[in-house]
Symmetry: C2
Subunit: 328 residues, 2 copies
């Protein structure tokens, strides 16, 4: 019996989930729900209905897990509790500081409905969180560092697009190799924001726009850019489309710890990702998590969980005895 | 209430567990059991009794988890089922191909006694197994590679010591950078044993021994060395003690996968360890796992588990709401 997955929201992430479901024999796509006009969406998966979000409630019995692919700013805080009252759900809510609040709202809704919900899974939060928890549990004396990139930050790209005279932009977050290497060597250096990452901006300016002003406004933008060394390169719309169309990302979680009675032995744990497509990888994590949610829901679990609560084996399609024989 | 830990076997690993327990406020060492003369053992932890293994049964009520620190060849296959009938236990059984058999024996014993047992935890099997399971669950289309080192292999060092005319030896397993880099780039290369690792041997020969013969016997030794490029360096006993006394190790688990409808996007997941002290790091993993075993045992779980079955949060001393707020 396959796990029947539905998707709400067919943007980059929804498409990534669809592609991930197609790679897994034990998952199948049952439906895609959208708040746009369903007639405008053409899925890659043959024979799967595209329906208005308003029809989702009628599908409660035909779907094992609904994957919510909206944004963290305004969609998920409303959608995840709403749909957790009808479906087992999975989301990738990534506003770190609002996770406790989101968890509480989703937990109430899911518990009342006897459903199971998993929030904030993807890679950060998600796989990076796992790396932090395992590394801290094993090495209680130490220091964590997370590096992101080289990859496209949507938030920073959007911030540049809001500047007057900017038509389009793409911002890459770039980890600084010397900082990564010092952490890898277990030196536990003290690093400022500027020490850890560069920001590379590719900007399409409107004809006649004041490029010096745009560059200055980017480099001095509080929080987004002022604490970093930032490079600004003006390109044409054609160059942006040709050279910067992808959504690569990645990064590393490192923990430098010490063991021994005098802390005499350095021990370094690192978890790294190098991703050609951020939305397809995130979609792949969501698909594996949906498998786990379906499985644990059938065992009678209800309420809200995070990936920190899921037994690793629950994410895998491989039976436990085969995991022990071949993966352990 | 602290988790009361006992150790059976006070070799390198037992000492590593002791040091790890001292780093964790919620763990305490209750006793060390030994098959040697207890009078000969001086612990680092003040006030903890050293007792003959035969007295362990009397401690069943005073110990929450017994960590078995014997060897996988002959100790653990007997000890883990035997002690799982009296204690919650944790071991680091690492004979990969005998894990299913060991699991079954321990599961029977623990279940009958209402105890919880965790086998085969450490870093490989252990944290490396976790990395393999998560990466395979997320990237079902791809290829795994594991590199070990640079680090000391006890098995290979022992194999050299058995050669006539060899007084002592230390063997380092060394990953080949070009192979690691190709896998990191997502190229999914086909790699032989020789492509992946070098073997560096430091050998103390007896006076008058035939060094050419020793070198030849090492390099042609089936399974251990014949499939690898091996270097042999003769050193004095003093040099071996001065330059090769440590037990560093580490390695990397990599999975190169692809996503997208045509497999057009490469996605690479890597988990790496760089360890100054293999036994202290392994001891640290065992200590964190003992915390989880105690916790899950109090929830009523019995039988045998592996680290693949443990919710990650169970290994951490940090309460779930704090994990969500600060680690997710």
């Amino acid at each position: 019996m396959k796990t029947r997955i539905a998707i709400l929201g067919y943007g980059n992430l929804g498409k990534g989930v669809e592609a991930a479901v197609a790679q897994n024999d034990d998952l199948e796509l049952a439906a895609v729900f959208t708040r746009r006009d369903p007639a405008g969406l053409i899925l890659r998966t043959p024979g799967v209905p595209v329906l208005p979000a308003s029809e989702a409630p009628a599908w409660a019995e035909a779907v094992d897990v609904l994957i919510l692919c909206g944004g963290s700013a305004t969609d998920l805080p409303v959608q995840t509790p709403e749909y957790a009252a009808m479906f087992n759900v999975v989301d990738s809510f990534d506003t770190h500081k609002k996770i406790p609040e989101h968890f509480a709202a989703v937990d109430d809704a899911a518990r009342a409905a006897g459903k199971l919900a998993l929030i904030s899974c993807g890679w950060d939060p998600g796989l990076f969180s796992l790396a932090r928890v395992y590394a801290n549990a094993v090495l209680p004396v130490g220091k964590d560092e997370t590096f992101w990139g080289r990859g496209v930050s949507q938030g920073h790209s959007d911030a540049i697009r809001r500047i007057e005279g900017v038509l389009d932009a793409r911002q890459y977050t770039v980890p600084i190799p010397a900082a990564v290497e010092a952490v890898r060597r277990g030196e536990q250096p003290v690093l400022t924001a500027r020490d850890k990452h560069l920001r590379e901006c590719y900007v399409v300016a409107a004809e006649g726009a004041d490029r010096a002003r745009i560059e200055r406004e980017i480099k001095t933008m509080p929080y987004y850019f002022d604490e970093y060394d930032t490079s600004v390169t003006f390109v044409t719309a054609e160059e942006l489309a040709r050279d910067h169309a992808g959504l690569p990302h990645g990064g590393s979680v490192l923990r430098g710890g010490v063991t021994g009675w005098e802390g005499e032995h350095k021990q370094t744990v690192e978890f790294s990702l190098k991703l050609d497509s951020n939305p397809e990888f995130t979609g792949s994590v969501l698909a594996a998590c949906a498998r786990a949610v379906h499985r644990l829901s059938r065992e009678g679990q209800t309420g809200c969980r995070t990936i920190l609560d899921l037994p690793p084996a629950a994410l895998s399609p491989v039976p436990p005895e085969e995991l022990r024989a071949h993966f352990l």
